[in-house]
């Protein structure tokens, strides 16, 4: 079902697995991923506002640069509204990119920062494709490319 939990579980969650499951099952907060670094809060309000009244949006930020790094949390007032977002927004486009929504146990201060070594999201460390909306190549690939003798 489109409102089911994905298989992702936040490994940094402070609490038991069953506590996490309980929170996820009643959550009104969604994680939104695969956003462009340039997608704004305004665009998110407009799209997610079509599913109900948005309570809060927290943009995901690069830990060092404090600039958006391609994810966010969207919190609704009701579970029903967030279920609508899972049903009708997950897998559709925002800012020309297909975004993904998933249940989140709830925003806590600190969770808005990327957990990748370079400051952004972990997935941007390891990916090998070129994505102009997410800073180009993945970080590890970028570092390799910058080495003077890489291409010789």
């Amino acid at each position: 079902m489109s409102t089911d939990l994905s298989s992702y579980r936040d490994q940094h969650f402070k609490g038991s697995r069953s506590e996490q499951e309980r929170l996820l099952a009643q959550s009104t907060t969604l994680y939104v991923g695969n956003m462009s670094f340039y997608t704004t809060e305004e665009q998110l309000y407009e799209l997610f506002g079509k599913c109900g009244e948005v309570k809060k949006i927290v943009m995901g930020l690069d830990k060092f640069k404090r600039t958006p790094c391609g994810f966010c949390f969207v919190e609704f007032y009701t579970r029903g509204d967030s279920e609508h977002a899972m049903r009708y927004i997950n897998g559709t486009r925002l800012d020309d990119r297909i975004i993904r929504t998933d249940w989140d146990a709830g925003f806590i201060e600190g969770r808005q920062y990327g957990r990748g070594k370079s400051g952004g999201q972990v997935r941007d460390e390891y990916r090998t494709d070129f994505d102009s909306g997410r800073g180009g190549y993945g970080k590890i690939v970028q570092q390799k490319l910058e080495q003077p003798d890489y291409l010789t």
Partner: protein
């Protein structure tokens, strides 16, 4: 209906069984039976007929042990799977030949279930059951005469005087909607009774009032396609069917193959079913209009689109709408099911789907689902049929644009919302040049306004430069302003050197220094209040300059994002409250916000929403501000109405919340009173079930007072809004009359349309105050152009 195995724990046959193994086995068999019954008719290597025969044999063997469960499943199928009606009636027909008593019990349970549905206002379910019982005549399970008796009872309900027309209409509709299945049989067996019944219905349908019709039309004009009232349309379709001797070729009738077996069976008479009487609190389904946008000339070479008065059109639309309503929570499954419509090769399916979908998007007063549900299902349809669906949608968009001059304004908004959303999923690609006829139009004309408002919505879903790039250069006139704050107190701005600019600069510095609200207030007082030595906050007195400097400066500082502005409002909330102590002061606040963010409509909407939520401004203030002289140039812009509707919705939510609290508290008192008089419960330690304390009578009364006060505010809000509408519309009509010009200006059309929209979007809440509105505002002396809007709304429930 779920195809998953249901754990049915009730056991109506033998009562509680002590042996666990037998219970489990019993449940497993019940599950298997359920699965077999649910799945019959699905894709199979064997024919439908042989599957039905096989299933009938299996069930016959289990009838003695599992009869109740089987009956229950069959009733559920009748209700939840109306598109498989004829499959299940055939099954019951076959079972009836093998076991007459079982047939009888089926029939009895069907009638009982129909009664239950009517009593609990499950109108769709009742209608499907009526259809099912009618089809059982075709399977020789039910006697034609007894069905006619039941249908006559429904027709009597349609003819009953002194009850709301919506009730009568529903009964007429439900009878007509059963006739495609059983019309032929009734014609063959009971022609004169059938004719008499149809005569009565025709008389009713023709005689009844249709004041509500215009309230529900998507298009004002009946050209090129009539926007028929729903009962009128079905009546025409049934009339056509009758003139075709009740022969229709659309419904699959498995019972025909078993005719020789079935006609051996003994028939049953339906137990008497008299519809429950009308009660004032009963809510009947609202009337609708049949939305039409295509005819056969719009479709390419290939299968022909059935005519608007053909019964096939109605049958197909019924089924598609049912698929939509059963699957709308799973958009991918919904799209797949819509596209696997069984007779898809005989009809231009994409066209009918698109027409049905837009009919739902444009449904008045309100759609049944969220607008984005339909939008995302349409996107899934495009993904599944990439070579046809997008083109049909493009064609539909063109058609709607062509007819937009006569489109209802409420539907106009929905069209803008849908189109901009759809474009945002397809890189905003569109052949804008095809619409260059709009370039020469007055911007208030619907076509020009449509492009403008669509681009404004596209802006919200993207960014300004993107919109610049997606339109041709010739369309620059439709380009939205680049959203930017219009800060008037900048050091080199229009008020350079003034005390306001100096105050603003000082305020900005103080805020950056992280000053408190008290410090802000005293700074404002120091800089901008005349040194009178008196208390400056007196009743009704406010300083507009103080307000303006504060608002402009603070929100200018918070311009970076919504979150920044929200944080600013939260931090200095008490300043807002102190400055906005009266409605006039609050209107001043709104004015300042507007002047700063005029070019960023979305920011205005979210800021006003936030200020309402944090009670910085009252709903009435927003309403009065929207209708103020200053806002006249903005009045017809869509975002203004976004603001009006969110304001009303906030008020509605507030009232509902208090109603709920008050009635729950009242119930807790009543429950605990009845409990304390029952000593048995106390001895069983019932206190465990009631963690909440019994509130005092005083507490409950306080909640009820709060609720009543909120309801008074709600009524007042509607009165303000409607009164303002009446005033500006009346003024316009009088002025035009004096100047001897046509009053039907674009402004007039928009304004009447917006008035109509208030009634549509908030019909449930407005309904509560109908009498007050009729007595105080919408009086007989009002110009009919205004009064008609009110009468059409009231007619929705009459």
């Amino acid at each position: 209906m779920s195809h998953r195995r249901k754990r049915g724990y009730e056991d109506e046959d033998g009562g509680y069984r002590s042996k666990k193994r037998r219970t489990n086995e019993h449940m497993e068999i019940e599950d298997r039976l359920e699965s077999l019954i649910l799945r019959v008719g699905e894709k199979s290597t064997s024919s439908l007929e042989s599957n039905l025969e096989g299933l009938a044999s299996v069930l016959e063997a289990d009838l003695s042990t599992y009869k109740s469960k089987i009956l229950k499943i069959l009733i559920e199928c009748a209700i939840k799977l109306p598109d498989k009606c004829t499959i299940y009636t055939t099954l019951i027909g076959l079972l009836n030949t093998k076991n007459y008593n079982f047939g009888g019990e089926c029939v009895e349970l069907l009638v009982k279930s129909t009664k239950d549905c009517l009593k609990s206002f499950r109108w769709s379910d009742a209608r499907f059951l009526l259809r099912f019982m009618s089809d059982l005549v075709n399977c020789h399970v039910v006697n034609a005469g007894s069905l006619l008796q039941l249908l006559d009872n429904f027709v009597d309900a349609a003819l009953e005087e002194g009850v709301p027309q919506v009730r009568r209409d529903w009964f007429a509709y439900s009878v007509l909607s059963a006739l495609p299945w059983v019309g032929r049989e009734l014609y063959e067996k009971k022609e004169s009774e059938l004719d008499r019944m149809l005569g009565s219905l025709e008389g009713y349908i023709k005689r009844r009032k249709k004041i509500h019709h215009n309230a529900l039309r998507v298009f004002k004009s009946d050209h090129p396609h009539p926007q028929e009232e729903y009962l009128d349309c079905l009546w025409q379709q049934i009339k056509r069917l009758r003139s075709d001797m009740w022969i229709e070729k659309h419904i699959i009738r498995p019972y025909l193959a078993f005719d020789s077996t079935l006609c051996e069976a003994l028939q049953h008479n339906l137990p008497s079913l008299v519809p429950p009487p009308h009660h004032p609190s009963t809510l009947y389904p609202l009337p609708t209009v049949i939305f039409r946008m295509f005819d056969y000339t719009d479709c390419p070479e290939g299968p022909i689109l059935p005519g608007q008065h053909s019964i096939e059109r109605w049958l197909i639309e019924e089924q598609l709408r049912h698929i939509l309503m059963s699957n709308h929570t799973e958009r991918k499954e919904c799209a797949a099911q819509l596209l696997s419509y069984p007779l898809k090769n005989k009809i231009p399916l994409e066209y009918i789907i698109v027409e049905v979908m837009f009919g739902e998007i444009f449904r008045l007063p309100t759609p049944l689902c969220l607008e984005i549900a339909y939008g995302s299902i349409l996107i899934e349809l495009c993904k599944l049929q990439p070579s046809t669906m997008p083109q049909v949608l493009a064609q539909a968009t063109e058609l709607l644009y062509e007819r937009i001059d006569v489109m209802n304004k409420t539907c106009f908004d929905r069209f803008v919302n849908w189109f901009s959303y759809h474009l945002s999923n397809f890189q905003f690609r569109w052949s804008w040049d095809d619409w260059d006829d709009a370039l020469s139009q007055d911007p208030e004309q619907p076509k020009a306004k449509f492009i403008l408002e669509t681009l404004l919505k596209c802006l919200r879903l993207s960014y300004h430069q993107r919109v610049v790039e997606l339109i041709p250069e010739t369309f620059a006139v439709f380009l939205p302003d680049k959203p930017a704050p219009n800060f008037k107190y900048s050091v080199d701005g229009p008020y350079a050197g003034s005390e306001e600019t100096r105050a603003s600069a000082n305020l900005m510095a103080a805020i950056k220094r992280k000053c408190t609200s008290e410090e802000v207030l005293s700074l404002l007082k120091q800089e901008l209040d005349p040194a009178t030595g008196e208390e400056d906050i007196t009743d009704g007195v406010f300083n507009p300059t103080k307000i303006d400097v504060f608002i402009q400066t603070l929100l200018f500082l918070g311009q970076k994002s919504f979150s920044h502005s929200f944080a600013a409002i939260a931090k200095f909330h008490s300043v807002f409250k102190a400055l906005g102590s009266t409605e006039e002061a609050q209107i001043c606040i709104l004015r300042s916000v507007f002047q700063l963010w005029k070019t960023h409509q979305q920011m205005l909407v979210v800021l006003i929403d936030k200020m309402l939520k944090t009670q910085i401004v009252e709903c009435a203030a927003v309403a009065n501000w929207v209708f103020s002289k200053e806002m006249v140039p903005e009045f017809s812009k869509c975002y203004i109405w976004e603001i009006v509707h969110l304001t009303i919705r906030k008020m509605n939510k507030h009232v509902s919340k208090l109603q709920k609290e008050a009635s729950e508290a009242r119930k807790r008192i009543e429950d605990s009173d009845s409990d304390s008089s029952d000593s048995e419960d106390e001895s069983r330690g019932r206190r465990k079930n009631k963690p909440l304390e019994r509130p005092t009578e005083e507490q409950v009364e306080k909640l009820e007072d709060k609720m009543e006060s909120a309801q008074a505010d709600q009524k007042n809000l509607f009165l303000i809004i409607f009164q303002r509408f009446i005033m500006i519309l009346s003024e316009h009509l009088v002025r035009c009359d004096t100047d001897a010009v046509d009053f039907k200006t674009p402004w007039f059309q928009w304004t009447v349309g917006r008035l109509h929209q208030i009634f549509m979007i908030h019909h449930e809440q407005v309904e509560k105050y109908s009498t007050t509105l009729e007595t105080l505002l919408f009086t007989q002396d009002l110009d009919p152009n205004i009064l008609d809007v009110f009468h059409q709304f009231v007619a929705l429930r009459m």
